[in-house]
């Protein structure tokens, strides 16, 4: 074979088979879909909406909640759907993963002085865009609820901190127009540039997503809804459980592992601010604060709005010079300013000392246990 042909075959072969392999990986990621971002149970389809409705009804009527098996459902689809159902809860809570343990259902009840019954709408990695979407849906669908509690994180006053919210980008575009006019400067400067479709496409060959897919390759997706039987909330059960109030109980194995970690005192003391997408010094975006203020004013017309801050692990606070703690302090200060102007009460603090949360009352650096969360009202600023 002539020399050049060997090189030609090699070159073409490597490029061709790399693409074939990538295609295969994309197919696996699409099929397994660990985070349910390509799920057919999309709220935009009729069957998807019906499934979500059925899920929500079963959850609200259940005694012990629903087992979350095999990562079958997309979290954002679910929680947005929850806001569309009539509820007798007097408090709806918007927030990120740190509030997922807030419950009126468990032994250590949270926010007892404020709420009789809670519907927890906490979403992993929730950002301001999530709040806008969920709030508009609440405004449209909930009439009887008394309190809307909004949890503020150090990253809340920044746009596009995370792209998971793009799952309901169309809902966001509709919702944002109800808060600000299209001629508003905020609207112009905050036009989302990221394409969700492009992100989805890139994600198909994402190595981390592929590893998650491989971990789930043997488990079949089960779209049937399985109610949880009686179990000890402190110890958990075979799978993660979504309680009827929207809060989460981790699986028994996870709870055991977290307990062990905590006993090892294996807490990462320095918390990387890059996780929050914040540049040190630029703690918040004015446009985000403006739009947030307008959103709160809108909610105030129908509900009593309360701001909520959940604490971080005391070890993270052991060094107040690190940017993450500086971010927390600055955002808390700003939030208190906003609350004062809008006459809104603030519950909690990023600082665990102010609430009285001990080291063993956290799962990890950022997630307090229900015992710590039950003390949130220790720090209550009336405005």
């Amino acid at each position: 074979m002539p020399n050049y042909k060997i090189f030609l075959y090699y070159l073409v072969g490597v490029i061709f088979f790399s693409f074939v392999l990538l295609l295969l990986i994309a197919l696996i990621n699409f099929k397994i879909d660990p985070s349910n971002i390509y799920t057919k149970y999309s709220k935009s389809s009729k069957s998807g909406t019906e499934s979500l409705n059925s899920f929500a009804k079963k959850l609200f009527n259940s005694k012990n909640g629903i087992l979350l098996k095999n990562y079958t459902w997309n979290e954002r689809d679910l929680y947005l759907n929850f806001t569309k159902h009539k509820t007798d809860a007097d408090c709806l809570i918007l927030g990120a993963s740190a509030i997922k343990q807030i419950s009126s259902f468990r032994k250590n009840k949270s926010l007892q002085g404020t709420c009789r019954k809670i519907l927890n709408l906490g979403i992993n990695g929730a950002v301001i865009e999530d709040y806008i979407v969920l709030s508009q849906s609440i405004l449209e669908n909930q009439k009887k609820t008394k309190n809307i509690i909004i949890q503020i994180n150090a990253w809340t006053f920044n746009f596009n901190r995370d792209n998971r919210w793009l799952r309901y980008k169309n809902d966001y575009n509709r919702a944002v127009k109800k808060i600000i006019s299209e001629n508003d400067n905020i609207y112009k400067t905050n036009k989302t540039t990221g394409s969700y479709q492009t992100s989805l496409f890139k994600n198909l060959i994402n190595i981390k997503y592929f590893i998650s897919s491989l971990n789930l390759i043997n488990s079949k997706k089960n779209y049937s809804i399985e109610l949880a039987k009686d179990f000890n909330y402190e110890l958990g059960t075979t799978h993660k459980v979504l309680l009827p109030d929207g809060s989460i109980i981790s699986a028994a194995k996870t709870l055991e592992k977290r307990k062990k970690n905590n006993e090892d005192l294996s807490i990462k003391r320095n918390w990387n601010i890059q996780n929050w997408g914040i540049v040190p010094g630029a703690w918040y975006e004015e446009n985000a604060i403006n739009i947030f203020t307008k959103l709160v004013n809108q909610l105030k017309k129908n509900f009593n709005v309360i701001f909520l801050i959940t604490p971080y692990h005391p070890d993270v606070w052991s060094n107040e010079e690190q940017p993450s703690v500086k971010a927390m302090k600055n955002v808390e200060l700003k939030l208190n300013e906003i609350a004062k102007i809008l006459n809104i009460d603030v519950i909690g603090s990023f600082n665990p000392k102010k609430i009285g949360c001990r080291r063993d009352e956290f799962f990890d650096e950022i997630h307090p246990k229900d015992l710590c969360l039950s003390k949130l009202e220790n720090a209550y600023v009336f405005n």
Binding site: N3, Y4, I6, F7, L8, Y9, Y10, L11, G13, V14, F17, S18, L21, L22, I25, K202, N203, I205, N206, I207, K208, F210, N261, D264, S266, I267, K268, R269, N270, N272, N319, E321, Q322, P323
Partner: protein, 513 residues
Amino acid sequence: MLYNSYIFLFLFLPVTLFGFHFLTKFGHYKLTLSWLVAASLFFYGWWNPVYIALLIGSAIFNYTIGYLLLVRSNKIFLYFGIIGNLVTLGYFKYANFFVDNINFFFNNNIILEQIILPLGISFFTFQQITFLVDTHLGKTKDFNFLQYCLFVTFFPQLISGPIVHHKQMMPQFAKKSLNILKLENLAAGFTTFTIGLFKKVFLADNIAVFATPTFDAASYGFGLTFFEAWGASLAYAFQLYFDFSGYSDMALGLGLMFGIALPFNFLSPFKAKNISEFWRCWHISLSTLIRDYLYYPISLLLTRYAVNKKAGTISLFTLSMVIPTIFAFFWMGLWHGAGWNFVLFGLVQAIYITIYNIWVKLINIIPQEKRIKKNNITDFISQTITFVAILFSFVIFRAENVGVAKDIIFSMLGFNGVEFSDMFRIGVFGAKPKIGIFWILFSIFIVNFLPNSKEFILSKSKIFIKHGDVISNVINKKITWKPSFFWGIVFVIMLTLSLMSFSNTSEFLYFQF
């Protein structure tokens, strides 16, 4: 534009490559060069179009001075050219540093707006200064403006080197040298590029996870444990090596795809058995430049002075070796960045080199037959000592400032105590101690037992040999690339893993220099 981005790989590179080979095939020489210059400017401008003007301005300025030097070799032109370059570099790179120090030492409050450092300015400035010096010395032969523009802007080496010498590059841009497409070059270039891409996105970026948080923690005032400090310094050393050598491999591979041989910049530096060897294998294009244009002239000058003064052995050694070494490494340190830690990094290297030279002198006193013969154990000890010395100096290089570097080094030396139970705690290697340890061991295996790119690829790339590079010290003759089924599979896996790791696109460490 980053090499590790989809836009570069799937759009810019294929289009530029196709345009280049198409124009070459039909013999449009000037159009071919113009195409490459235009593509390179586009590549550079992708980051910030404003700085294209700076790059073009710099090229025109230096070409004009070079031309004047060619017509009439006058030192005033040369000084004017060098000062012009250094002032530009000084403004963009060192002005903030200079003002900060004035404010600190003289208690002033001069406020200077933060100046954004244009990408690659240190590389293209030094490249052009050598051009001016050589033109003044009558060493420059090629003087075509278009070739010169390509010499300055050629995108594979524009942003992070290797720092190319006009003597190497200009002849390759000559009409007779631009060859029509050669598949062996394309295949070898593609393979070298893939190696670099893999080093960057799969190795360096994964290891960075175990270095960055700990260095950040130290800069916030956290006291590090013994294992945290060693873990972070090891992780950083490998991150830096894979990041920068990965970039250099990508540059080399891209050059090959266009039929242009760029110089090798790394030759297994962590296998070095002494510090002098390390600097002959690490960032070779910079070390060579510093050696040829700073160290040798100063050393020559001072040696002559010492000989004329009939200086004794120690004075001669100091004048001919120690002072030029300190001078050269001081500037090498400062080249890396505007910070005292970089200056200190350079000075530490100078001390290492001086100690090594004294050691060599002392060894030479002992008769040959009485010396311990070199064997695997002595090699291992030499390599370990060199590596550990480098590790300590890299802490200075990486740390936020000299104070933080001191704290980390103190922890490495055990001044904060050594508690073995700390080894698998979360603080060490972020949240995943075992994975961190795996990456370190994997890196040690790669840098010690696998061939470097030169050893691996050179035998199949005649283009390097044609342009004066030779194979030397090939340790791993068995592991050399050829377009075989086996290597095809290996590179399919490497390319696939690299492309899958693109989602967390990160910049190259040497972009900041």
